[in-house]
């Protein structure tokens, strides 16, 4: 039983990792067919994993209702919204539009999901402005550079900024605002981002190797 529970998963993980790592360097038809075949399985497995994710959410809200925790009524609303959406989705056969226009399912998407999710993220605009007012202080050289870059980019990436710049320096001035912001983005920002990217890529490779060799086992629910 210990073999099934502990060692077999490590063997499967190591084996598939090595096989599909090597597969990349073997352009033979058999190797490509294997990738196509197994990849198709993975799509189906991913579909089932979505059920796991959705069920976890159900579980959280069910527990809230069962224990009558504060705000449990809102968890009930979550359930009602899920059930109503799914029922309407089934009636519409999952189609958002038909020959007459929007289906009921499409109506829910357009008039409920789109405004709700759009607004949920748009309120961050207010908080970002408030945070900038409260916390953006040029206390040190680092903070000053951060603030300065932010101001240049915010000024230069809008038509009013470009217009003002060309009014001050003239339209024939060789250094226009668009060139400055593009240079900051494409040289200074890019260099820093590349440093981060290389670090992340090296980290991803190291973690992948640890997973293949069974050193990293967190995905099995083990602590070490």
């Amino acid at each position: 039983m210990l073999f099934l529970k502990r060692y077999l998963p490590l063997v499967i993980c190591g084996f598939t990792g090595v096989v599909f790592g090597i597969q990349y360097y073997v352009p033979h038809k058999a190797s490509e067919d294997l990738l196509t075949f197994i990849n198709d399985w993975m799509i189906i497995i991913f579909g089932f994993s979505m059920i796991l994710a959705l069920a976890s959410l159900f579980h959280v809200h069910y527990q809230k209702i069962r224990r009558r925790q504060s705000g449990w009524g809102f968890s009930l609303i979550v359930f009602i919204a899920i059930i109503v959406t799914v029922i309407i989705g089934i009636i519409s056969q999952g189609e958002t539009v038909d020959e007459k226009g929007l289906t009921s399912f499409g109506w829910i998407y357009t008039n409920m999901l789109v405004p709700l999710s759009g607004t949920m993220f748009s309120i961050l605009a207010f908080f970002i402005a408030s945070a900038a007012f409260r916390a953006f202080r040029a206390r040190t050289l680092d903070a000053f550079l951060l603030l300065f870059a932010a101001i240049i980019i915010m000024f230069g990436r809008v038509p009013a900024g470009e217009y003002l710049w060309s009014k001050i320096w003239g339209a024939e001035f060789p250094l226009q605002m668009g060139d400055i912001t593009e240079w900051i983005m494409g040289v200074l920002n890019m260099a820093a981002r590349r440093g981060i990217l290389l670090g992340v890529a090296l980290g991803a490779i190291a973690t992948s190797l640890k997973i293949i060799f069974g050193i990293e086992r967190a995905y099995l629910g083990e602590k070490e």
Partner: protein
């Protein structure tokens, strides 16, 4: 003076909220119609590539975003499709984001109607499939096996548009409109890297700075960043739409934030100066 600065520094945040709301609403109700915007090289990269394609070439678009990114990526999708259909390209569209299916379908059918394009011959919508990177690999290996049916339930091997399209190797250009992960990087790493198609990107402004390393190496041939990028594309097409309308709002809100930051720093210096003296 210090007292006033202190009061202003501790301003109720709802006053700042009101200022932001005004900065958005005023240009919306009374547009300034600021002069044209300059075109950046990354946006021109995508435009030039589509411009260079011949009628009948295949453009593959993945609209990997959800309603949260609608104001930035929806106008981009509209503009790119207008450009593609005006050049009589064949367009295949899909999404890796489940909540984005409705919007991707809407953009596609709206612009196709505008140009009187025929479904299955001039364009097709594959819809959504779970699996993210495995979907990309599947498309690279065998498109019709990965998507046996399109979004509307038609068999892909029976649609005319897919006649000579068996995998991502057969497409002429791909544009990924992304709001995060899976997005442009995923399409590059698991798609272009192996299957060798030309890749361009459009993305939200939040993720745009992180994609410049790929732009410089040519791993992506162009990048349309945020609503500003979408407005640039509209300018290139000479067809101003919602993204261009939004430029007035971006101008006022950006100027307001810049003003707030400068003012808060002045207030901060005043209060600090006072403390040093004491």
């Amino acid at each position: 003076m210090r007292k006033i600065a202190n009061i202003l520094l501790n301003l109720d945040r709802r006053i700042i909220f009101l200022l932001i709301a005004a900065a958005v609403l005023v240009p919306l109700l009374r547009p300034f119609n600021l002069p044209g915007i300059s075109i950046s090289q990354p946006v021109k990269g995508v435009y030039d590539k589509i411009e260079s394609l011949a009628p009948g070439d295949v453009l593959f678009i993945s609209m990997d975003f959800d309603p949260t990114a609608k104001p930035e990526l929806y106008p981009m999708g509209i503009s790119i499709l207008r450009h593609a259909f005006s050049k009589d390209l064949r367009v295949i569209c899909m999404t890796l984001w489940a909540p984005g299916v409705g919007m991707a379908e809407e953009v596609m059918s709206k612009v196709a109607r505008e140009y009187h394009k025929e479904y299955g011959k001039d364009y097709a919508f594959l819809g959504w499939m779970p699996g993210q990177l495995t979907v990309i690999i599947g498309l690279g290996q065998d498109l019709k096996k990965t998507f046996p049916k399109d979004f509307y339930g038609n068999k892909t091997d029976r649609l005319q548009i897919f006649e000579n399209i068996n995998s991502l190797r057969d497409i002429d250009y791909m544009v990924d409109l992304a709001a995060g992960d899976p997005g442009i990087e995923t399409w590059y790493l698991y798609g272009k890297e192996k299957y060798g198609f030309e890749l361009g990107g459009g993305c939200t402004a939040v993720i745009a700075p992180g994609l410049y390393p790929f732009l410089q190496t040519g791993q992506i041939n162009g990048l349309i960043g945020g609503m500003r990028g979408a407005a640039e594309y509209e300018t290139l097409l000479n067809r101003k739409d919602k993204a261009t309308v939004g430029m007035d709002v971006l101008s006022t809100t950006h100027f307001l934030i810049i003003g707030l930051v400068i003012l808060s720093n002045i207030f901060y210096l005043i209060t600090r100066k006072g403390k040093t003296v004491r």
